[in-house]
């Protein structure tokens, strides 16, 4: 600072705007990088989140694409092959549409009637092959309802 007092004021302000500009450029670059990362991230990793009827309504457009689907577990259809860890069950929507689900992995502890399942995976027109399975029991687990019950399929 002592140095700059001897320099004419015009130059001082000129220098400081120069620094400011440098700084603003740096800030803008960070901001642009963040926007870019978000944009490409969403482009490459996002998935539709649908109910069973919405999935059916979209028909073939949604087949063999990674989507997330929400539905209620029909407990009477749960079948679990302990040996190979193959879990099959059906989920239903509010309107009564059903979809068969197959999941290769450990059976989640919350798998029972009334549980709301959020599935991520692909639908081939007949069965939904879930890559991950989230279960939620709405009445009981207000907090921490989701993370505790997520399971991943065997990769």
């Amino acid at each position: 600072m002592a140095q700059s007092t001897s320099i004419p004021t015009v130059q001082v302000s000129g220098r400081s705007t120069n620094k400011k500009i440098k700084f603003i450029i740096g800030g803008v670059m960070i901001a642009l990088a963040v926007v870019y990362l978000i944009y490409t991230g969403i482009q490459s990793t996002s998935a539709y989140f649908l109910t069973v009827d919405e999935l059916y309504a979209k028909g073939e457009a949604m087949e063999n694409r990674t989507v997330r689907v929400a539905g209620d577990v029909d407990a009477s259809t749960i079948d679990f092959n302990n040996r190979d860890l193959i879990l099959t069950f059906a989920v239903t929507s509010d309107t009564g549409e059903r979809m068969n689900v197959v999941f290769n992995g450990p059976k989640p502890d919350q798998m029972r009637e009334g549980a709301e399942a959020i599935l991520e995976g692909k639908y081939d027109g007949e069965t939904f092959t879930a890559q991950s399975l989230l279960l939620k029991c709405p009445s009981r687990y207000e907090e921490k309802g989701i993370e505790q019950v997520q399971v991943e399929a065997v990769r």
Binding site: I42, T45, F49, N82, L85, P106, D109, K144, E152
Partner: protein
């Protein structure tokens, strides 16, 4: 008795509103007796909420199952510890607990600062009590834990089995402590805006509150991860779930705040930025609480089903727009006292580091809320999962690691490029050497992991050099032995060297995350008794697991316990047994899978019992190797210790702080 509890909360709500109004009127009309009355009301709120909490605890401990909350969260078989902690086991109780914590903090800060901060106090009281009025209102009108059933059930349903874990029991109160304690710096910031005292008084006054709040938030985050890892059995610790993100986002804004306040204290700069950050921290905390409690993002189709949702939204909007209005109307008062001297200065690197943190917060916030926006704008909900968060945040985490090493080495005001180069030479050499070593000797070929470990080595070296500089200077000038020099160095400047210790903790956490994220191995197999499975990691070695059979038992609190015993061989050497468990909670008809681990600093062998046939002639196991994962918990402990050192009250410093620097700042303010 439950009615007394309800009345106490209702009175607390009324009193909190009274305190808000009277404090503001008292400040406006300059009537100290009104402000004193508001203060007494604030103490009254704390006392009433304490009474309500005691009553709810008594109901839980005495098994008053007619109280719906007690019925839902406890039962006769529950051990004492879980009866006590059931206070925050479910929504209604935890809201009461939350309000109680906030009221206690509000009362404590009045005890502490009443004498020294007369001018700001009315507004501090008003902000805190207004927030309390809102939370107690939720308890009174929508989430009453004292609600009675019209019959007296013989026993309760008991707490959700998954929550019966030490980590889960103390994880929510840590987060609540962190969240609620942030109301203190926020209230002081608002008071500073209203009274136009925009120097660093509000920051110095609340420094310890901020650090404490941040510490609790950090502990809450680490414990949440530990619980998930220890109990949930999916082999991971962080799933980028909205509920997890909602506690991470405020942390990502509070962390740069902790750093940028130093710029205001040292140089009188970044006043607007600091204000913005603390307002954002508090708003995001409300936002996170809202996400967690209204349950709107977990499934977008249950949008605001809970009555709490809309109320919360209105409150957040109100708080945020009031803060924003004040912020904008005081824009000129928040002018910086100094200009940036040079692009290559600690100031400038601080600012970039700040921006990157905020960028991380933006990414996580955006990804978490994306389903809501996409549904609102296109009618279709689009979600992003862990891959989005990992891909987008990774480069920024790397930048944070790098700046964490570089920034402390750069002097304030101005640095010459040459000097900067000289100081960075050793960290750079060590960083590159570590990369080469890992590549050739340890067979690490994934470039993301190499860069990550290299940055960790770079920053660790830079941080250790900082310690070394201080220690060797003391050793030379005062002839202190090295350990003594280290001790006195930290003693004399706790904030700085405690802060560096936090950095070391972060590096250790990063090492754990990189190792377990890039090099996790998993496998599953069905085994008959006597059969073996192997799981191998390039980094760690090979485990051979031999199934010995199932053991069954019953615990006194009605759990059926099935244990599978596997003997472990590690690289051909016997390495004990591993016993994954399946419990079955008879009352709740709820199974629970509990993994078992063989933990070393190099890795965890993590095994779950996925199922069995008959009486256990054959069983299926899922096994993971999580390399370096335990460094996350070690780093967490170092991190906490560092924060404690930085926040520890210093008798000599506190008298200096409150007198000298404030006066100087006051003088400069007066000159202007």
């Amino acid at each position: 008795m439950p009615h007394i509890g309800y009345v106490a909360v209702t009175l607390a709500m009324v009193l909190a509103l009274y305190a808000t109004v009277v404090a503001l009127v008292g400040a406006k009309r300059r009537q100290p007796e009104l402000v004193a009355s508001a203060r007494n009301a604030a103490f009254g709120v704390a006392a009433l909420l304490t009474l309500a909490v005691i009553i709810l605890e008594t109901l839980l401990l005495t098994g008053h199952f007619q109280t719906k909350y007690v019925y839902e969260t406890s039962n006769h078989a529950a051990p004492l510890f879980f009866l006590i902690t059931a206070l925050w086991g479910s929504q209604n109780g935890s809201l009461l607990f939350w309000s109680w914590l906030m009221s206690m903090f509000g009362a404590l800060v009045l005890f502490q600062k009443w004498g020294s901060m007369r001018q700001m106090m009315p507004y501090v009281i008003a902000v805190i009590q207004f927030n309390l009025a809102f939370f107690t209102m939720l308890v009174v009108f929508v989430a009453n834990p004292f609600e009675q059933l019209n019959f007296f059930p013989p026993d309760g349903t008991g707490m959700n089995p998954l929550l019966r874990h030490f980590g889960m029991i103390i994880h929510p109160p840590m987060l609540y402590l962190g969240f609620t304690a942030f109301v203190i710096p926020y209230a002081f910031a608002i008071a500073a805006l209203v009274t136009r005292q925009t120097n660093d008084v509000w920051i110095r006054t609340t420094r310890r509150w901020t650090l404490t709040a941040w510490l609790f938030l950090s502990i809450g985050l680490v414990l949440g991860g530990w619980w998930a890892y220890d109990v949930l059995g999916w082999g991971g610790y962080w799933g980028w779930d909205p509920v997890e993100n909602s506690s991470l986002i405020p942390w990502l804004v509070a962390t740069p705040f902790l750093h940028s306040v130093m710029m205001q204290e040292n140089r009188g700069m970044l006043k607007r930025w600091n204000m913005a950050l603390i307002i954002l921290t508090y708003s995001l905390m409300l936002n996170g609480t809202f996400l967690t409690r209204a349950g709107m993002i977990a499934s977008v189709h249950t949008f605001a089903q809970s009555a709490i949702g809309p109320l919360f939204l209105i409150f957040i909007a109100l708080m945020f727009s009031l803060s924003l209005y004040l912020f904008i109307s005081r824009w000129d008062d928040l002018k910086s006292e100094n200009e940036l001297d040079s692009f290559f200065s600690r100031e400038s690197f601080f600012m970039f580091n700040n921006l990157i943190f905020v960028g991380l917060a933006v990414i996580v916030w955006w990804g978490t809320h994306f389903p809501l926006f996409s549904e609102a704008f296109t009618g279709e909900a689009i979600v992003v999962g862990p891959p989005f968060f990992e891909k987008t945040t990774a480069p920024l985490w790397a930048a944070v690691l790098l700046l964490m090493g570089v920034t402390p080495l750069i002097p304030w005001r101005r640095a010459s490029l040459k000097k900067l180069g000289d100081t960075l030479i050793w960290p750079t050499v060590v960083g590159l050497a570590v990369i080469a070593l890992l590549y050739f000797a340890a067979n690490i070929k994934i470039w993301g992991a190499l860069i990550g470990f290299g940055l960790c080595a770079f920053t660790l070296t830079a941080t250790l050099i900082e310690y070394w500089r201080g220690v060797s200077a003391r050793h030379r000038s005062r002839g202190e032995s090295y350990p003594v020099a280290l001790w006195t160095l930290i003693q004399r400047n706790r904030r700085r060297y405690g802060g560096y210790m936090v950095h070391i903790g972060v590096i250790l956490v990063a090492i754990g995350i990189i190792g377990s994220r890039f090099y996790q191995v998993e496998t599953q197999q069905n085994l008959a008794v006597g059969e073996s499975m192997t799981i191998a990691s390039d980094l760690i070695g090979t485990y051979e697991l031999t199934y010995q059979g199932l053991r069954e038992g019953q615990s006194p609190d009605d759990r059926l316990i099935t244990e599978a015993v596997l003997s472990v061989n590690f690289n051909g050497q016997p390495a004990g047994e591993i016993v994954p468990i399946r419990e079955f909670f008879v009352v709740q008809q709820q199974p629970m899978t509990i993994p078992d681990k063989r933990s070393t600093l190099a890795d965890d062998l993590y095994v779950i019992l996925a199922g069995w046939e008959g009486t256990g002639e054959t069983a299926t196991f899922k096994a993971y190797i999580n390399p370096l994962v335990n460094w996350i918990w070690v780093g967490g402990v170092v991190f906490i210790l560092g924060t404690l050192i930085a926040a520890w009250p210093n008798p000599t410093e506190s008298t200096q702080r409150s007198a000298a620097p404030v006066k100087v700042r006051g003088a400069t303010a007066a000159v202007k």
